[in-house]
């Protein structure tokens, strides 16, 4: 790469696809944690990580189309995530009170 080209890239900003790639990376890491982790609270946190990754794509597309309405979707995702966290953590509390464990491998009454 010529120095002039590098300077041009430096001044022109960040390509949209870089933001989308970062979003994809965060989403894949979230999926990995969702599958590999055994603690129910950590699994829940990985879901929040995936929601955040999708929010980043929404905001990137809002910037690409120069419209604020794309950012409103992020706003609604945030509200739904808050509601989901409240109900989900209440469910985790109830499960822990009944089963005395947070390991999702031991919460398998429905299996077999």
């Amino acid at each position: 790469m010529e120095p002039a080209d590098a300077l041009k890239l430096l001044n022109s900003g960040v390509p949209i696809s870089w933001y989308l790639t970062l979003s994809a990376l965060l989403f894949a890491i979230g999926v990995a944690g969702f599958i590999f982790r055994r603690n129910i609270i950590t699994v829940f946190m990985c879901i929040e990580l995936m929601l955040n990754a999708v929010n980043l794509s929404f905001i990137t597309f809002a910037h690409q189309h120069k419209q604020a309405s794309g950012q409103l979707f992020t706003f609604f995702v945030m509200v739904v995530a808050a509601a989901e966290a409240a109900v989900g953590l209440a469910i985790i509390l109830t499960v822990f009170r009944n089963r005395s464990t947070l390991n999702i491998d031991k919460i398998n009454t429905l299996k077999n």
């Binding site: 965060l26 999926v31 809002a62 509601a83 966290a85």
Partner: protein
Amino acid sequence: MDIFFFLLFAFIALIAAVNVVLQRHPISSALSLVGVMGSLAVLYLLLGAEFIAMAQMIVYAGAIMVLFVFVIMLLNAGTEERTGRSWLAQIFGVPAMIALLGLLCFFAYKVFPNAGFVKFGDFTGGGAKEIGYALFTDYLLPFEVTSILILIAIVGAIVLARKELD
């Protein structure tokens, strides 16, 4: 300058996200997740979404993560115990993950090869005024439905978490 800030905070976000998955103690995972959310808020600022960046810090990094930390302390959750994984996850887990990542990146580059550049200051329609205007004109019905959703979530959380009275 844009590219420097993007790379710095994208790097922090990725390191913290990997840390969320690798840490064995839930509290360490929760604090790493706060790091992810903070660096994502800076990226939102770079994308011109000022209101959403503030909401991200207050709602996500503030309220939701405090809820998580409360529950972790309430349940006295310790280090995660290792249990045997299914052979399916052991063999196909990592390749499936890489395939998913490759597919997402493929679409990002295939559909948006020259989608343009993100430059700080190009788009200034993300302030509280513009968001509020759009929220209370075009998106009034979803906004009101959201309030009902939150009401249901409050009632549901109280019903689920209360002690049984006999």
